[in-house]
């Protein structure tokens, strides 16, 4: 039986595009804060798609992803703020941040990637901490990072004379600062989604999945495992660098406080929850976990106050507890994620039969 009306495929996509384009204006009606929350959600989707290349596709556990995010943010902050009196344009610093993050990733990955996977996990974990120590201490004897105080008054984005921090009006519609960033982020997101989707079935993408499933077999099939893993690692890192640059521009302020281990864990939880390796799953996971803190803030606090008269568990702590449990439960009961990649799902279930 045929359906009554058959919409062409482009029609649905056009509807989604329209909704995404109108979203910031609708959110502005509720409050500008919500546009900002949406921006951060997009930034986290961006980050988790970057990490998805490393963890999801290539199966390399990177626990210090936030360090690359920090590199990108500090590159932007140092080259476009009164701190050094430099005000370079975004088209120079955004790629530079990506490049430096990529180099950091390659330098870190080169010695560890030829070893077993768990070494990479712990080395990246340590690297995240070391980057933070450097950010905190590189304020003397020469003040590079301004220490724990961070760098303030960072330039926003500035494209062709349009300042992204101020409100402009086009065709009678006001475009606030966050709204303009929303469109830039949406554009970048589109880019990273396309890259991810194209990678998934490319030669390299298949090589990554092969390594994830069985490195020895992949090697036997003629894949240069070390180089291909290094590529995944460096590529993921450079996406982190771009996201970091956008973060610095949006916030106008960076400090070591923003780049703690918890952020890495949160991004990892997004990738794991959504389904490692599956682009749409990861996006859903990132969206879900970006709004969880907001949700907790509006529900848990009043609920606890009403029930016990005081706050027993801060929403922040509860959030981390939930993330920890999500990681454990997901691996136990749905290792391929809530929305698994079909191939991955097949392999995971085969494996279960084998084990049984």
């Amino acid at each position: 039986m045929k359906p009554y009306v058959r919409f062409p495929r482009w029609f649905g996509l056009a509807l989604i595009a329209l909704a995404l384009l109108l979203l910031p204006h609708l959110l502005t009606q509720v409050g500008t804060a919500w546009v900002r929350i949406a921006n951060f959600a997009i930034l986290f989707i961006f980050l988790s798609l970057g990490l998805n290349i490393v963890v999801g596709m290539a199966g390399l556990l990177d626990l210090g992803y936030v360090a690359f995010y920090a590199v990108g943010a500090y590159v932007w902050a140092l080259l476009a703020s009164p701190h050094f009196g430099l005000h370079m344009p975004f088209w120079a610093i955004l790629p530079l941040g990506a490049l430096l993050a990529c180099i950091a990733g390659a330098v870190l990955g080169a010695p560890t990637l030829r070893l077993r996977g768990d070494y990479l996990a712990i080395v990246t974990l340590g690297f995240g901490e070391i980057v933070r120590i450097f950010m905190n201490n590189l304020s003397s004897p020469f003040n590079i990072t301004n220490g724990p105080k961070g760098i303030t008054r960072i330039d926003g984005m500035n494209v062709a004379g349009m300042n992204f921090s101020a409100t402009d009006t086009f065709l009678g519609i006001p475009f606030s600062g966050p709204t303009k960033y929303y469109y830039v982020l949406l554009l970048l997101l589109l880019l990273v989604i396309v890259v991810n989707l194209r990678l998934q079935n490319s030669r390299i993408g298949r090589a990554w999945v092969a390594i994830r499933e069985d490195e020895l077999a992949a090697k036997a099939a003629g894949i240069n495992t070390r180089n291909v893993k290094l590529l995944a690692f460096a590529m993921g890192a450079s996406f982190g660098g771009i996201a970091g640059g956008m973060f610095a521009a949006m916030q106008g302020f960076v400090s070591p406080e923003s780049f703690v281990l918890h952020e890495s864990i949160m991004i990892l939880a997004m990738v794991v929850l959504g389904g490692m390796g599956n682009v749409w799953g990861v996006i859903a996971g990132a969206l879900l976990l970006s709004f969880v803190p907001e949700l907790l803030r509006y529900t848990v606090e009043p609920a606890q106050k009403a029930l016990f008269g005081k706050m027993l568990i801060e929403p922040e702590v509860l959030r981390m507890l939930l993330f920890g449990m999500a990681l454990v439960l997901m691996m136990r009961f749905r290792p391929a994620g809530l929305w698994p990649e079909s191939r991955h799902k097949r392999e995971m279930s085969e494996m279960k039969e084998e084990a049984a």
Binding site: G117, A121, I122, L125, V317, G324, M331
Partner: protein
């Protein structure tokens, strides 16, 4: 005062703590070839539990000798940590023993986040000061000083290492452990219950961790819910330095790492003082005048040493000082 000798003594003290924690990593790695990511948190819980017990006993005001009070703290921390170690194995590792390697690593990370935040809920966000009940008498040796706490820590860890070595090489369970580490399947054929051995290994590792936690707490006089993270990282580096999976290696690696860290932190300031460098000091003549210093990296970079050691070992000798080849995947 002889600074060099003093740094050696301090390094041996922290090093013996690292060695005890590193043993925990290495034992677990030996039997299941996986890193127990949550081991650092177990150590933290040990320190926190002991802290609570010591505070409670001190609060009672009984006329007990201080060493006995600390011992009570240790005796309380050990079973708590052992229970956590067992839970870790049952929840995070056993159900995923045949899963891809990524899976148990992720569950262990999840468990470590959970443990950290449960500790935060119980003991609060602020660092807890350990009551300084052990009287800290110093003894002079060759121009340096060694405190009674340092002596206690070093001798305690020597006893623990000796006991563990005896246990692993002389008891039935120890032999079963080594057989499992060698080959799980063949050990199974010999009638060894792998599940029991693996659980037992986690429990022993956690017990050692508990003692290490109390050592750190009494040495630095402070305990904090995030202390396990960096301590775990350092101890892991020590285990890799010695050769992961190798008991003697973990002991050696721990002591060496402690020494590297103490000497490094003690001297890096002097080495990176630009005013001592011939050409550079000329360019910085203003800031170097009147005995000024331009120190590039001071002792606040202490935590970086362990990481640098880890990277260097992985680059030049991934098998560690005493270990076998680990570069291929099992």
């Amino acid at each position: 005062m002889d600074i060099f000798l003093q740094q050696i003594i301090n390094g041996l003290t922290t090093g013996s703590v690292y060695a005890i924690v590193a043993l925990g990593y290495t034992m677990v790695y030996g039997v299941i070839q996986l890193i127990n990511f949550a081991h650092g948190e177990v150590v933290m819980i040990g320190a926190m539990t002991a802290f609570t017990v010591i505070m409670a006993v001190v609060g009672l005001g009984l006329p007990l000798p201080p060493a006995l009070i600390v011992l009570l703290g240790v005796l309380a921390a050990i079973p708590v940590c052992m229970a956590i170690g067992y839970t870790l194995e049952r929840v995070a590792y056993r159900p995923l023993r045949h899963a891809p390697r990524l899976a148990p690593l992720i569950t262990a990370i999840g468990m470590s986040i959970i443990l950290q935040h449960v500790a935060l809920l119980i003991w609060g966000r602020d660092p807890r000061a350990f009551p300084q009940i052990m009287e800290n008498t110093s003894f002079a040796i060759g121009g340096a000083a060694i405190s009674s706490v340092q002596i206690a820590i070093i001798s305690m860890s020597v006893i623990l290492m000796a006991a563990l070595t005896w246990f692993v090489y002389r008891t039935r369970f120890g032999i079963a452990m080594r057989a499992t580490a060698e080959n799980v399947h063949v050990a199974g054929l010999m009638g060894i219950d792998a599940n029991r051995v693996i659980a037992g290994t986690f429990i022993i590792a956690a017990g050692l961790g508990a003692v290490a936690g109390v050592m750190v707490g009494t040495y630095y006089g402070i305990a904090h819910y995030t202390m396990g993270f960096i301590l775990g990282l350092k101890a892991f580096s020590a285990a890799v330095l010695g050769g992961i999976g190798n008991l003697a290696g973990a002991m050696l690696g721990g002591l060496l790492l402690g020494l590297v860290e103490a000497l490094g932190a003690g001297y890096i300031g002097d080495f990176t003082d630009l005013c001592r460098w011939p050409v550079v000091s000329g360019m910085l003549s203003e800031r170097c005048a009147d005995g000024g210093h331009v120190v590039l990296f001071g002792s606040n970079y202490q935590d970086v040493f362990a990481f640098a050691v880890l990277i260097l070992v992985l680059v030049f000798r991934p098998s560690g000082l005493l270990g076998e080849r680990v570069s291929e995947r099992a």
